[in-house]
Symmetry: C2
Subunit: 272 residues, 2 copies
Protein backbone atom coordinates (compact mmCIF):
# COMPACT_ATOMS: atom_id res chain seq x y z
CA UNK A 1 0.00 0.00 0.00
CA UNK A 2 1.39 3.36 -1.02
CA UNK A 3 0.91 6.49 1.03
CA UNK A 4 0.33 9.98 -0.20
CA UNK A 5 2.66 12.71 0.98
CA UNK A 6 -0.05 14.25 3.19
CA UNK A 7 -0.54 10.95 5.02
CA UNK A 8 3.18 10.48 5.38
CA UNK A 9 3.62 13.95 6.87
CA UNK A 10 0.86 13.39 9.45
CA UNK A 11 2.11 9.98 10.51
CA UNK A 12 5.76 11.06 10.50
CA UNK A 13 4.99 14.06 12.70
CA UNK A 14 3.10 11.88 15.15
CA UNK A 15 5.87 9.27 15.14
CA UNK A 16 8.73 11.72 15.58
CA UNK A 17 7.03 13.71 18.36
CA UNK A 18 6.45 10.39 20.08
CA UNK A 19 10.08 9.27 19.80
CA UNK A 20 12.22 12.24 20.83
CA UNK A 21 16.02 11.86 20.79
CA UNK A 22 15.71 8.49 19.04
CA UNK A 23 17.53 7.86 15.81
CA UNK A 24 14.95 6.83 13.23
CA UNK A 25 16.58 5.42 10.08
CA UNK A 26 15.28 6.74 6.76
CA UNK A 27 14.70 3.14 5.74
CA UNK A 28 12.23 2.80 8.61
CA UNK A 29 10.01 5.47 7.09
CA UNK A 30 10.71 4.26 3.54
CA UNK A 31 9.42 0.82 4.46
CA UNK A 32 6.57 2.13 6.59
CA UNK A 33 5.19 4.07 3.64
CA UNK A 34 6.52 1.99 0.73
CA UNK A 35 8.18 5.13 -0.53
CA UNK A 36 11.55 6.02 -2.01
CA UNK A 37 14.16 7.37 0.37
CA UNK A 38 14.37 10.54 -1.71
CA UNK A 39 10.66 11.24 -1.05
CA UNK A 40 11.20 10.59 2.65
CA UNK A 41 14.09 13.08 2.68
CA UNK A 42 11.86 15.69 1.11
CA UNK A 43 9.11 14.97 3.65
CA UNK A 44 11.56 15.32 6.52
CA UNK A 45 12.80 18.66 5.23
CA UNK A 46 9.21 19.97 5.32
CA UNK A 47 8.63 18.53 8.80
CA UNK A 48 11.85 20.05 10.09
CA UNK A 49 11.06 23.46 8.67
CA UNK A 50 7.55 23.50 10.11
CA UNK A 51 8.55 22.26 13.58
CA UNK A 52 11.24 24.92 13.76
CA UNK A 53 8.98 27.67 12.48
CA UNK A 54 6.27 26.83 15.01
CA UNK A 55 8.74 26.70 17.91
CA UNK A 56 8.05 23.02 18.60
CA UNK A 57 11.45 21.49 18.01
CA UNK A 58 13.92 20.47 15.38
CA UNK A 59 15.12 17.46 13.42
CA UNK A 60 18.75 16.50 13.32
CA UNK A 61 19.91 14.53 10.33
CA UNK A 62 22.60 11.95 10.95
CA UNK A 63 24.27 11.11 7.61
CA UNK A 64 25.71 7.80 6.51
CA UNK A 65 24.63 4.17 6.29
CA UNK A 66 23.73 4.03 10.00
CA UNK A 67 22.14 7.46 9.74
CA UNK A 68 18.65 8.76 10.06
CA UNK A 69 16.80 11.51 11.77
CA UNK A 70 16.28 12.56 15.39
CA UNK A 71 13.62 14.84 16.83
CA UNK A 72 14.65 17.24 19.59
CA UNK A 73 12.17 19.33 21.52
CA UNK A 74 13.13 23.01 21.32
CA UNK A 75 10.40 25.25 22.60
CA UNK A 76 11.12 28.73 21.29
CA UNK A 77 11.30 31.73 23.60
CA UNK A 78 8.21 33.09 21.82
CA UNK A 79 6.29 29.95 22.80
CA UNK A 80 7.75 29.64 26.29
CA UNK A 81 7.33 33.21 27.45
CA UNK A 82 3.52 33.50 27.51
CA UNK A 83 3.30 30.13 29.24
CA UNK A 84 5.77 31.08 31.97
CA UNK A 85 4.03 34.43 32.45
CA UNK A 86 0.71 32.64 32.84
CA UNK A 87 2.34 30.30 35.35
CA UNK A 88 3.59 33.31 37.33
CA UNK A 89 0.06 34.71 37.47
CA UNK A 90 -1.39 31.37 38.57
CA UNK A 91 1.24 30.95 41.27
CA UNK A 92 1.05 34.54 42.46
CA UNK A 93 -2.38 34.19 44.03
CA UNK A 94 -1.96 34.94 47.77
CA UNK A 95 -4.46 32.24 48.84
CA UNK A 96 -1.78 29.71 47.87
CA UNK A 97 0.28 30.68 50.91
CA UNK A 98 0.56 27.95 53.51
CA UNK A 99 2.12 28.00 56.99
CA UNK A 100 5.93 28.18 56.94
CA UNK A 101 6.07 30.06 53.65
CA UNK A 102 5.20 26.97 51.63
CA UNK A 103 3.01 27.28 48.61
CA UNK A 104 0.00 25.24 47.56
CA UNK A 105 0.96 24.01 44.09
CA UNK A 106 -1.03 20.77 44.06
CA UNK A 107 -3.61 21.96 41.53
CA UNK A 108 -0.96 23.32 39.16
CA UNK A 109 1.13 20.17 39.42
CA UNK A 110 -2.09 18.17 39.01
CA UNK A 111 -2.64 19.51 35.51
CA UNK A 112 -0.98 17.25 32.94
CA UNK A 113 -1.16 20.03 30.33
CA UNK A 114 0.78 22.47 32.52
CA UNK A 115 3.27 19.85 33.63
CA UNK A 116 3.90 18.65 30.08
CA UNK A 117 4.46 22.13 28.78
CA UNK A 118 6.82 22.94 31.65
CA UNK A 119 8.58 19.64 31.03
CA UNK A 120 9.06 20.46 27.37
CA UNK A 121 10.50 23.86 28.18
CA UNK A 122 12.95 22.39 30.67
CA UNK A 123 13.88 19.59 28.27
CA UNK A 124 14.59 22.20 25.57
CA UNK A 125 17.30 23.65 27.78
CA UNK A 126 19.00 20.25 27.99
CA UNK A 127 18.34 19.07 24.43
CA UNK A 128 22.06 19.04 23.62
CA UNK A 129 23.29 17.80 27.00
CA UNK A 130 24.41 14.27 27.72
CA UNK A 131 21.78 12.94 30.09
CA UNK A 132 21.21 9.30 30.98
CA UNK A 133 18.57 9.61 33.65
CA UNK A 134 16.27 12.12 35.35
CA UNK A 135 16.22 11.97 39.15
CA UNK A 136 13.50 13.34 41.39
CA UNK A 137 12.16 12.85 44.90
CA UNK A 138 8.72 11.58 45.82
CA UNK A 139 6.04 12.85 45.56
CA UNK A 140 5.53 16.25 44.04
CA UNK A 141 8.45 16.27 41.62
CA UNK A 142 7.40 13.05 39.89
CA UNK A 143 5.05 14.37 37.19
CA UNK A 144 7.46 17.10 36.08
CA UNK A 145 10.35 14.63 36.08
CA UNK A 146 8.42 12.32 33.73
CA UNK A 147 7.45 15.21 31.50
CA UNK A 148 11.11 16.18 31.14
CA UNK A 149 12.36 12.60 30.82
CA UNK A 150 9.86 11.67 28.13
CA UNK A 151 11.24 14.47 25.93
CA UNK A 152 14.82 13.49 26.68
CA UNK A 153 14.05 9.80 26.11
CA UNK A 154 15.65 8.70 29.37
CA UNK A 155 14.31 6.84 32.41
CA UNK A 156 13.24 8.43 35.70
CA UNK A 157 14.57 7.34 39.07
CA UNK A 158 12.57 8.30 42.12
CA UNK A 159 14.28 8.88 45.43
CA UNK A 160 11.99 8.22 48.39
CA UNK A 161 11.90 9.27 52.02
CA UNK A 162 11.20 5.72 53.17
CA UNK A 163 12.00 2.31 51.74
CA UNK A 164 9.29 0.02 50.39
CA UNK A 165 9.25 -3.74 49.97
CA UNK A 166 8.54 -3.34 46.25
CA UNK A 167 11.85 -1.56 45.68
CA UNK A 168 14.20 -4.38 46.61
CA UNK A 169 17.55 -3.50 48.25
CA UNK A 170 18.16 0.22 48.71
CA UNK A 171 20.89 2.77 49.35
CA UNK A 172 20.06 5.21 52.11
CA UNK A 173 21.69 8.56 52.95
CA UNK A 174 21.14 11.31 55.48
CA UNK A 175 20.95 14.95 54.51
CA UNK A 176 20.20 18.27 56.13
CA UNK A 177 17.09 19.99 54.86
CA UNK A 178 18.16 23.53 54.09
CA UNK A 179 15.23 25.51 55.41
CA UNK A 180 14.40 23.58 58.55
CA UNK A 181 17.97 22.39 59.23
CA UNK A 182 16.65 18.97 60.17
CA UNK A 183 18.47 15.72 59.48
CA UNK A 184 16.42 13.62 57.10
CA UNK A 185 16.81 10.36 55.21
CA UNK A 186 16.41 9.58 51.56
CA UNK A 187 16.46 6.18 49.94
CA UNK A 188 16.99 4.89 46.41
CA UNK A 189 16.55 1.39 45.09
CA UNK A 190 19.94 -0.11 44.23
CA UNK A 191 18.63 -1.55 41.02
CA UNK A 192 17.18 1.69 39.80
CA UNK A 193 20.33 3.47 38.65
CA UNK A 194 23.45 2.32 36.81
CA UNK A 195 26.91 3.41 37.96
CA UNK A 196 28.38 6.54 36.42
CA UNK A 197 25.20 7.96 34.95
CA UNK A 198 24.77 11.60 33.87
CA UNK A 199 21.88 12.77 36.00
CA UNK A 200 19.46 15.64 35.54
CA UNK A 201 17.83 16.49 38.88
CA UNK A 202 14.25 17.77 38.56
CA UNK A 203 11.99 18.98 41.34
CA UNK A 204 8.89 21.11 41.69
CA UNK A 205 10.07 23.52 44.38
CA UNK A 206 13.40 24.64 45.82
CA UNK A 207 13.91 26.80 48.88
CA UNK A 208 17.43 26.62 50.31
CA UNK A 209 18.22 23.60 48.16
CA UNK A 210 18.80 21.01 50.90
CA UNK A 211 16.72 18.35 49.19
CA UNK A 212 18.42 18.93 45.86
CA UNK A 213 21.80 18.74 47.59
CA UNK A 214 20.66 15.47 49.17
CA UNK A 215 19.95 14.11 45.70
CA UNK A 216 23.43 15.19 44.61
CA UNK A 217 24.89 13.18 47.52
CA UNK A 218 22.68 10.27 46.57
CA UNK A 219 23.83 10.19 42.96
CA UNK A 220 27.44 10.35 44.18
CA UNK A 221 26.77 7.03 45.92
CA UNK A 222 26.15 5.65 42.44
CA UNK A 223 29.22 7.46 41.04
CA UNK A 224 26.91 9.60 38.95
CA UNK A 225 27.53 13.08 37.57
CA UNK A 226 25.23 16.08 37.88
CA UNK A 227 24.24 17.01 34.32
CA UNK A 228 21.86 19.70 35.53
CA UNK A 229 19.37 20.84 38.15
CA UNK A 230 15.97 22.16 37.13
CA UNK A 231 13.03 23.28 39.25
CA UNK A 232 9.62 24.65 38.41
CA UNK A 233 9.61 27.20 41.23
CA UNK A 234 12.46 28.61 43.29
CA UNK A 235 11.86 30.59 46.44
CA UNK A 236 14.35 33.34 47.05
CA UNK A 237 16.21 32.72 50.26
CA UNK A 238 17.77 35.45 52.36
CA UNK A 239 20.42 33.02 53.58
CA UNK A 240 22.99 31.49 51.27
CA UNK A 241 21.53 29.03 48.88
CA UNK A 242 23.13 25.59 49.00
CA UNK A 243 22.92 25.10 45.25
CA UNK A 244 24.34 27.52 42.68
CA UNK A 245 23.90 26.24 39.21
CA UNK A 246 20.27 25.47 38.47
CA UNK A 247 17.46 26.40 36.15
CA UNK A 248 14.09 27.73 37.32
CA UNK A 249 10.95 28.73 35.46
CA UNK A 250 9.37 30.79 38.23
CA UNK A 251 10.90 32.69 41.15
CA UNK A 252 9.15 33.68 44.37
CA UNK A 253 10.29 36.52 46.54
CA UNK A 254 8.97 38.64 49.41
CA UNK A 255 6.82 35.82 50.72
CA UNK A 256 4.96 37.31 53.67
CA UNK A 257 2.66 34.78 55.31
CA UNK A 258 1.31 37.30 57.81
CA UNK A 259 0.43 39.89 55.20
CA UNK A 260 -0.60 37.16 52.76
CA UNK A 261 1.50 38.73 50.08
CA UNK A 262 3.89 37.22 47.59
CA UNK A 263 5.94 38.39 44.66
CA UNK A 264 6.31 36.17 41.62
CA UNK A 265 8.61 36.69 38.68
CA UNK A 266 10.09 34.71 35.83
CA UNK A 267 12.92 32.42 36.96
CA UNK A 268 16.42 32.34 35.50
CA UNK A 269 15.33 30.35 32.43
CA UNK A 270 15.82 33.15 29.92
CA UNK A 271 19.07 34.40 31.51
CA UNK A 272 20.96 31.28 30.56
CA UNK B 1 1.75 34.75 6.08
CA UNK B 2 0.08 31.91 4.23
CA UNK B 3 0.84 28.28 4.94
CA UNK B 4 1.06 25.44 2.50
CA UNK B 5 -1.11 22.40 3.09
CA UNK B 6 1.90 20.30 4.07
CA UNK B 7 2.86 22.77 6.79
CA UNK B 8 -0.72 22.96 8.02
CA UNK B 9 -0.97 19.19 8.27
CA UNK B 10 2.24 18.93 10.30
CA UNK B 11 1.35 21.70 12.70
CA UNK B 12 -2.29 20.57 13.01
CA UNK B 13 -1.21 17.04 13.85
CA UNK B 14 1.19 18.31 16.48
CA UNK B 15 -1.45 20.66 17.90
CA UNK B 16 -4.26 18.12 18.03
CA UNK B 17 -2.13 15.36 19.57
CA UNK B 18 -1.12 17.90 22.17
CA UNK B 19 -4.70 18.94 23.00
CA UNK B 20 -6.71 15.72 23.34
CA UNK B 21 -10.44 15.98 24.14
CA UNK B 22 -10.34 19.75 23.63
CA UNK B 23 -12.71 21.38 21.21
CA UNK B 24 -10.63 23.31 18.69
CA UNK B 25 -12.77 25.69 16.61
CA UNK B 26 -12.18 25.61 12.86
CA UNK B 27 -11.68 29.36 13.04
CA UNK B 28 -8.68 28.77 15.32
CA UNK B 29 -6.90 26.86 12.58
CA UNK B 30 -8.22 29.18 9.87
CA UNK B 31 -6.66 32.16 11.65
CA UNK B 32 -3.51 30.28 12.63
CA UNK B 33 -2.78 29.52 8.98
CA UNK B 34 -4.57 32.43 7.28
CA UNK B 35 -6.54 29.84 5.35
CA UNK B 36 -10.15 29.41 4.32
CA UNK B 37 -12.33 27.23 6.54
CA UNK B 38 -13.01 24.96 3.58
CA UNK B 39 -9.29 24.21 3.25
CA UNK B 40 -9.10 23.53 6.99
CA UNK B 41 -12.00 21.09 6.70
CA UNK B 42 -10.21 19.24 3.93
CA UNK B 43 -7.01 19.15 6.00
CA UNK B 44 -8.88 17.77 8.99
CA UNK B 45 -10.46 15.03 6.87
CA UNK B 46 -6.97 13.89 5.83
CA UNK B 47 -5.66 14.07 9.42
CA UNK B 48 -8.64 12.08 10.70
CA UNK B 49 -8.26 9.39 8.07
CA UNK B 50 -4.53 8.97 8.72
CA UNK B 51 -4.82 8.93 12.51
CA UNK B 52 -7.52 6.27 12.28
CA UNK B 53 -5.63 4.21 9.73
CA UNK B 54 -2.47 4.20 11.84
CA UNK B 55 -4.35 3.28 15.01
CA UNK B 56 -3.40 6.51 16.78
CA UNK B 57 -6.80 8.03 17.41
CA UNK B 58 -9.69 9.81 15.81
CA UNK B 59 -11.13 13.27 15.26
CA UNK B 60 -14.69 14.08 16.19
CA UNK B 61 -16.33 16.93 14.35
CA UNK B 62 -18.77 19.05 16.32
CA UNK B 63 -21.00 20.93 13.86
CA UNK B 64 -22.51 24.37 14.25
CA UNK B 65 -21.35 27.86 15.12
CA UNK B 66 -19.75 26.75 18.39
CA UNK B 67 -18.37 23.68 16.67
CA UNK B 68 -14.93 22.47 15.84
CA UNK B 69 -12.88 19.36 16.11
CA UNK B 70 -11.72 17.14 18.99
CA UNK B 71 -8.92 14.60 19.02
CA UNK B 72 -9.49 11.38 20.92
CA UNK B 73 -6.76 8.84 21.50
CA UNK B 74 -7.88 5.43 20.23
CA UNK B 75 -5.03 2.97 20.14
CA UNK B 76 -6.11 0.14 17.87
CA UNK B 77 -5.95 -3.48 18.97
CA UNK B 78 -3.31 -4.03 16.28
CA UNK B 79 -1.12 -1.37 17.91
CA UNK B 80 -1.89 -2.32 21.51
CA UNK B 81 -1.37 -6.06 21.25
CA UNK B 82 2.37 -6.21 20.48
CA UNK B 83 3.02 -3.64 23.21
CA UNK B 84 1.08 -5.56 25.85
CA UNK B 85 2.75 -8.81 24.81
CA UNK B 86 6.14 -7.16 25.16
CA UNK B 87 5.11 -5.88 28.57
CA UNK B 88 4.16 -9.42 29.60
CA UNK B 89 7.59 -10.67 28.57
CA UNK B 90 9.33 -7.87 30.46
CA UNK B 91 7.28 -8.48 33.59
CA UNK B 92 7.56 -12.27 33.41
CA UNK B 93 11.25 -12.35 34.31
CA UNK B 94 11.54 -14.38 37.57
CA UNK B 95 14.27 -12.13 39.02
CA UNK B 96 11.55 -9.52 39.52
CA UNK B 97 10.05 -11.52 42.35
CA UNK B 98 10.37 -9.87 45.76
CA UNK B 99 9.49 -11.16 49.23
CA UNK B 100 5.73 -11.44 49.82
CA UNK B 101 4.91 -12.08 46.17
CA UNK B 102 5.48 -8.47 45.21
CA UNK B 103 7.06 -7.64 41.92
CA UNK B 104 9.89 -5.26 41.10
CA UNK B 105 8.35 -2.94 38.51
CA UNK B 106 10.40 0.17 39.24
CA UNK B 107 12.40 0.00 36.02
CA UNK B 108 9.30 -0.53 33.87
CA UNK B 109 7.41 2.27 35.60
CA UNK B 110 10.56 4.39 35.30
CA UNK B 111 10.40 4.36 31.51
CA UNK B 112 8.35 7.31 30.25
CA UNK B 113 7.95 5.60 26.86
CA UNK B 114 6.38 2.50 28.40
CA UNK B 115 4.23 4.47 30.80
CA UNK B 116 2.98 6.82 28.07
CA UNK B 117 2.06 3.97 25.77
CA UNK B 118 0.26 2.14 28.57
CA UNK B 119 -1.48 5.39 29.48
CA UNK B 120 -2.66 5.88 25.92
CA UNK B 121 -4.04 2.36 25.75
CA UNK B 122 -5.93 2.79 29.03
CA UNK B 123 -7.20 6.22 27.96
CA UNK B 124 -8.48 4.69 24.71
CA UNK B 125 -10.77 2.46 26.74
CA UNK B 126 -12.29 5.52 28.44
CA UNK B 127 -12.27 7.87 25.45
CA UNK B 128 -16.08 8.05 25.40
CA UNK B 129 -16.60 8.03 29.18
CA UNK B 130 -17.46 11.05 31.27
CA UNK B 131 -14.37 11.56 33.41
CA UNK B 132 -13.52 14.70 35.38
CA UNK B 133 -10.44 13.57 37.21
CA UNK B 134 -7.94 10.71 37.48
CA UNK B 135 -7.17 9.54 41.02
CA UNK B 136 -4.13 7.57 42.08
CA UNK B 137 -2.13 6.87 45.23
CA UNK B 138 1.47 7.84 45.84
CA UNK B 139 4.00 6.83 44.69
CA UNK B 140 4.08 4.19 42.02
CA UNK B 141 0.78 4.93 40.34
CA UNK B 142 1.58 8.57 39.66
CA UNK B 143 3.34 8.34 36.28
CA UNK B 144 0.67 6.08 34.79
CA UNK B 145 -2.09 8.30 36.17
CA UNK B 146 -0.56 11.34 34.45
CA UNK B 147 -0.12 9.43 31.21
CA UNK B 148 -3.81 8.51 31.24
CA UNK B 149 -4.99 11.94 32.41
CA UNK B 150 -2.99 13.83 29.80
CA UNK B 151 -4.85 11.91 27.08
CA UNK B 152 -8.21 12.46 28.76
CA UNK B 153 -7.43 16.14 29.38
CA UNK B 154 -8.34 16.00 33.06
CA UNK B 155 -6.38 16.74 36.24
CA UNK B 156 -4.78 14.15 38.50
CA UNK B 157 -5.41 13.97 42.23
CA UNK B 158 -2.90 12.07 44.32
CA UNK B 159 -3.95 10.34 47.49
CA UNK B 160 -1.12 10.01 49.99
CA UNK B 161 -0.38 7.78 52.94
CA UNK B 162 0.67 10.73 55.09
CA UNK B 163 -0.26 14.40 55.11
CA UNK B 164 2.21 17.10 54.15
CA UNK B 165 2.30 20.76 55.06
CA UNK B 166 2.25 21.72 51.38
CA UNK B 167 -1.15 20.13 50.86
CA UNK B 168 -3.17 22.37 53.16
CA UNK B 169 -6.21 20.88 54.98
CA UNK B 170 -6.84 17.21 54.22
CA UNK B 171 -9.48 14.49 54.46
CA UNK B 172 -8.21 11.27 55.99
CA UNK B 173 -9.77 7.79 55.91
CA UNK B 174 -8.86 4.36 57.19
CA UNK B 175 -8.99 1.28 55.02
CA UNK B 176 -8.05 -2.37 55.21
CA UNK B 177 -5.29 -3.43 52.86
CA UNK B 178 -6.63 -6.53 51.14
CA UNK B 179 -3.56 -8.74 51.12
CA UNK B 180 -2.08 -7.99 54.51
CA UNK B 181 -5.40 -7.21 56.22
CA UNK B 182 -3.81 -4.29 58.00
CA UNK B 183 -5.61 -1.06 58.83
CA UNK B 184 -3.99 1.80 56.98
CA UNK B 185 -4.62 5.48 56.44
CA UNK B 186 -4.90 7.51 53.27
CA UNK B 187 -5.13 11.25 52.97
CA UNK B 188 -6.29 13.65 50.28
CA UNK B 189 -5.98 17.40 50.20
CA UNK B 190 -9.43 18.99 50.58
CA UNK B 191 -8.70 21.51 47.87
CA UNK B 192 -7.62 18.94 45.35
CA UNK B 193 -11.00 17.55 44.27
CA UNK B 194 -14.36 19.17 43.55
CA UNK B 195 -17.57 17.64 44.91
CA UNK B 196 -19.42 15.18 42.69
CA UNK B 197 -16.61 14.44 40.25
CA UNK B 198 -16.53 11.43 37.93
CA UNK B 199 -13.35 9.68 38.92
CA UNK B 200 -11.16 7.23 37.04
CA UNK B 201 -8.95 5.35 39.51
CA UNK B 202 -5.55 4.38 38.11
CA UNK B 203 -2.85 2.35 39.82
CA UNK B 204 0.18 0.34 38.83
CA UNK B 205 -0.55 -2.89 40.69
CA UNK B 206 -3.58 -4.55 42.25
CA UNK B 207 -3.57 -7.64 44.43
CA UNK B 208 -6.74 -8.09 46.44
CA UNK B 209 -7.81 -4.54 45.68
CA UNK B 210 -7.78 -3.08 49.18
CA UNK B 211 -5.97 0.06 48.15
CA UNK B 212 -8.30 0.62 45.21
CA UNK B 213 -11.28 0.10 47.50
CA UNK B 214 -9.74 2.64 49.86
CA UNK B 215 -9.65 5.14 47.02
CA UNK B 216 -13.31 4.40 46.30
CA UNK B 217 -14.12 5.23 49.94
CA UNK B 218 -12.04 8.35 49.65
CA UNK B 219 -13.85 9.65 46.58
CA UNK B 220 -17.16 8.97 48.32
CA UNK B 221 -16.05 11.48 50.95
CA UNK B 222 -16.05 14.00 48.11
CA UNK B 223 -19.41 12.70 46.77
CA UNK B 224 -17.59 11.46 43.69
CA UNK B 225 -18.59 8.67 41.32
CA UNK B 226 -16.39 5.82 40.14
CA UNK B 227 -16.12 6.21 36.37
CA UNK B 228 -13.65 3.34 36.10
CA UNK B 229 -10.76 1.46 37.65
CA UNK B 230 -7.66 0.68 35.61
CA UNK B 231 -4.42 -1.00 36.61
CA UNK B 232 -1.27 -1.88 34.72
CA UNK B 233 -0.82 -5.24 36.43
CA UNK B 234 -3.26 -7.36 38.40
CA UNK B 235 -2.14 -10.30 40.49
CA UNK B 236 -4.57 -13.17 40.57
CA UNK B 237 -5.76 -13.77 44.11
CA UNK B 238 -7.01 -17.10 45.39
CA UNK B 239 -9.29 -15.34 47.84
CA UNK B 240 -12.19 -13.20 46.74
CA UNK B 241 -11.13 -10.02 45.12
CA UNK B 242 -12.53 -6.89 46.71
CA UNK B 243 -13.03 -5.13 43.38
CA UNK B 244 -14.98 -6.57 40.45
CA UNK B 245 -15.16 -4.14 37.62
CA UNK B 246 -11.73 -3.03 36.51
CA UNK B 247 -9.44 -3.00 33.53
CA UNK B 248 -5.96 -4.54 33.51
CA UNK B 249 -3.28 -4.72 30.85
CA UNK B 250 -1.27 -7.56 32.39
CA UNK B 251 -2.27 -10.40 34.71
CA UNK B 252 0.01 -12.37 37.00
CA UNK B 253 -0.80 -15.85 38.22
CA UNK B 254 0.98 -18.76 39.88
CA UNK B 255 3.42 -16.51 41.66
CA UNK B 256 5.76 -18.86 43.50
CA UNK B 257 8.41 -16.97 45.43
CA UNK B 258 10.13 -20.18 46.61
CA UNK B 259 10.42 -21.67 43.14
CA UNK B 260 11.06 -18.22 41.66
CA UNK B 261 8.42 -18.84 39.04
CA UNK B 262 5.67 -16.64 37.75
CA UNK B 263 3.05 -16.80 35.04
CA UNK B 264 2.21 -13.67 33.08
CA UNK B 265 -0.64 -13.23 30.63
CA UNK B 266 -2.56 -10.43 28.97
CA UNK B 267 -5.05 -8.78 31.34
CA UNK B 268 -8.75 -8.32 30.69
CA UNK B 269 -8.21 -5.37 28.36
CA UNK B 270 -9.24 -7.15 25.17
CA UNK B 271 -12.18 -8.98 26.80
CA UNK B 272 -14.08 -5.81 27.38
Amino acid sequence: MKFRRSERLIDMTSYLLDHPRQLVPLTFFAERYSSAKSSISEDLAIVKETLEERGIGTLQTVPGAAGGVKFFVKVSKREAEPFINELCQLIGSPDRLLPGGYLYLTDILGSPQVVQKAGRIIASAYADAKIDVVMTIATKGIPLAYAVASQLNVPVVIVRRDSKVTEGPTVSINYVSGSAKRIQTMVLSKRSMKEGANVLIVDDFMKAGGTVLGMVSMLEEFNGHVAGIAVLVEAEETEDRLVDDYLSLVKLSDVDVKEKSINVEVGNFFDR
